[in-house]
């Protein structure tokens, strides 16, 4: 009698066939190990995203912690507020310019380092990496003076060639390029990833290409580029996501003081979002901006992945 009950219970507890692993003690221990991440995910990722979506449909009053539902009006404000469009345009301008420039510059530097013996490359690698170790505030305060239109070293350098350097930090046309210059100065993280990829390209591919009569340029486009396309693809996606959220340098150079009166030429979505949320305390509207930014990042990333997969070469197929 008892055995019949047992077997009945066992049958009821049997897991569905599509779950391959059993719920045994190993599984329970595994869940215990990943528990910290699960809690963090539920609270600070999934929970936070739902919370943020809810807030975006309300007017959140920070002093009383009450949220008044306002329907779609925050999203309507996205269309009405001219600064949203300005900041979006600025952000896209920055991303479209900075990402290809950083990739090309990083690839060029990696290529140079790849061409010399490893011992010499080590020294240059350290020198090129130092800007990446500099805190963004330190970089911003140095470049605040270097980019000064009247007495900055950069315009002094341009002056040697008879070029009358622009007012980098005041002229709206040159504010975004200023931030791109600082970004290029600390490009070395990307450079190291691409250098590792270059070193991973098998030698025999070059030898085979050379035997077939391919010159240096042909080898670069037909061997090197396809073989490192994976790393290039990865860097492009990561840099694009970062560029669309750019904050530190623009904030430090232009919007540090609420009364700085800097033109909106470097007002990126990340900066405007911060201003709305933590200076104006319009949490609901800021949450709506955040969702707009998220949607844009998502669309661009999906587009890049779809488009990139056509060009990325995967060793051993996909």
């Amino acid at each position: 009698m008892a055995t019949a009950v047992d077997s009945h219970r066992k049958r009821r507890l049997r897991r569905p066939r599509w779950i391959k692993e059993p719920f045994n003690s190993e599984a329970r221990a595994g869940y215990l190990f990943i528990l910290p991440w699960v809690i963090g995910f539920l609270v600070f990722t999934l929970g936070a995203m739902i919370y943020s979506l809810v807030i975006s449909f309300t007017n959140y009053d920070l002093s009383t912690d009450t949220a008044t539902p306002v329907g779609l009006s925050n999203y309507e404000l996205l269309l009405k507020d001219p600064k949203v469009l300005t900041s979006l345009g600025n952000t896209l301008y920055y991303a479209v310019l900075s990402v290809p420039l950083e990739i090309c510059f990083a690839l060029f530097l990696a290529y140079l380092l790849h061409r010399i013996p490893d011992r010499g490359a080590g020294v240059f690698r350290i020198i090129y990496y130092l800007p990446k170790m500099t805190p963004s505030v330190a970089a911003a305060s140095i470049f605040l003076l270097l980019l000064n239109g009247n007495s900055g070293a950069i315009n002094g350098f341009l002056g040697i060639f008879g070029i009358d350097g622009p007012q980098w930090l005041i002229d709206p046309n040159w504010m975004k390029p200023s931030i791109i210059i600082i970004g290029l100065w600390s490009v070395s993280g990307t450079m190291l990833i691409l250098l590792a990829a270059l070193k991973n390209v098998p030698q025999d591919l070059y030898e085979a290409a050379a035997l077939d009569g391919a010159g240096a340029i042909r080898q670069f486009f037909s061997v090197t580029l396809p073989m490192i396309s994976n790393a290039l693809f990865f860097c492009t996606i990561v840099l694009t996501i970062a560029a669309l959220q750019v904050f530190d340098q623009a904030f430090l150079l232009f919007y540090r003081d609420t009364a700085s009166g800097s033109p909106d030429a470097a007002l990126f979505v990340g900066v405007y979002l911060f201003q709305q949320a933590f200076q104006q305390f319009n949490m609901g509207f800021a949450a709506a901006i955040a969702w707009l930014l998220f949607a844009i990042i998502l669309v661009i990333t999906i587009f890049q992945v779809r488009f990139g997969n056509k060009f990325v070469y995967y060793e051993g197929g996909r």
Binding site: F23, I34, I127, S151, L192, N200, P202, A210, R256, F294
Partner: protein, 313 residues
């Protein structure tokens, strides 16, 4: 026994087919190294030229810290009049010592906690087999791509709700729960360890936690160091979180980045300062130095950690 164990991850790393970076052949003269003298001169000139470009701001900064106020903008790399008082006065002008100690405490907490939590989670994903493992790990990878801007506002409200708003907790608290990129990194490292040692230890009666604590952890010290120094740097450089969470207290509670940002405004002529940029420059140099020291000691780990990133795509 210990020596056998120690040599194993080394062997595992060497036999890893993806890890060809260390074994770049340099026996023959590869095609891409310039053969002609002219090519070599151009190459070295470019390398040195870029070195000058990258180093110039540092040299300029170092020089500026030894200049009196009116000379900061003269762009001389060797100061006309040497002034050593900036290094003394900056401590009186700005609460730099408080900033540095705040930043050190926060960075140590942030890095220490994220190293422990991420490695626990990573070991869970690397060793154990349980239902929905791949689905959950896919979610981990998914959160890596999630822009921080989306969760910034609710995270602030969550910390506010929990009553941690005027403390430094929001600057390291979330690190208790692991971080996607570090989980990925450490999982890769744990997967490189041969499963046989764990099975053997299980037969010898080792507990599941013992597998992590007594086998996986001692064998993965490099990956622990990588995660620790990456997060230490990230925390030390973080500007946005202190801006959100610490900007309302007195300047004594600031971290280094927030403090320098405050100093930039304090001395800026547009906001009523007297353009005492020599102090900002000295402070900027002083807070960059710890990072340069970190890099000097952990260079290998930085490069290894970054090179690993490219392989995950």
């Amino acid at each position: 026994m210990a020596s056998v164990l120690k040599s194993q991850p080394q062997a595992a790393a060497e036999s890893d087919p993806r890890d060809k970076s260390t074994a770049a052949p340099s026996k023959h003269f590869p095609w891409y190294k310039p053969r002609s003298i002219v090519g070599r001169i151009v190459l070295w000139a470019l390398l040195l030229g870029f070195s000058v470009l990258f180093m110039y701001p540092f040299v300029w900064l170092l020089a500026a810290t030894f200049k009196p106020r009116q000379d900061v903008f003269d762009n001389r790399l060797i100061p006309e009049t040497w002034v050593f008082t900036n290094y003394v006065e900056v401590w009186q002008q700005l609460p730099l010592l408080s900033w540095i100690s705040n930043s050190v405490i926060i960075a140590l907490l942030a890095a220490g906690l994220v190293t422990i939590s991420s490695s626990l989670v990573a070991f869970g994903f690397a060793y154990f087999r349980f239902p929905f493992r791949n689905l959950l790990f896919g979610l981990v990878l998914g959160t890596m791509m999630l822009p921080g801007a989306v969760t910034m506002i609710p995270t602030y409200l969550i910390w506010k709700e929990l009553g941690f708003l005027t403390t430094t907790v929001p600057l390291w608290g979330a690190n208790l729960f692991g971080s996607a990129f570090y989980i990925f990194l450490q999982r890769q490292f744990f997967l490189g360890l041969p499963r046989d040692i764990f099975e053997a230890a299980r037969i010898d009666g080792c507990s599941y936690f013992g597998l992590f604590w007594r086998i996986a952890m001692p064998l993965s010290i490099p990956s622990f160091i990588i995660v620790f120094i990456f997060e230490f740097q990230a925390s030390w450089n973080n500007l946005q979180a202190p801006l959100i969470y610490l900007n309302f207290g007195s300047p004594d509670q600031y971290t280094v980045p927030l403090g320098i940002s405050y100093a930039m405004s304090l001395f800026s002529p547009t906001s009523g300062g007297e353009a005492d940029y020599q102090y900002v420059m000295t402070a900027a140099l002083l807070v960059t130095l710890p990072m340069l020291v970190l890099f000097a000691f952990g260079q290998r780990y930085f490069i290894e950690g970054l090179a690993g990133q490219g392989r995950k795509g």
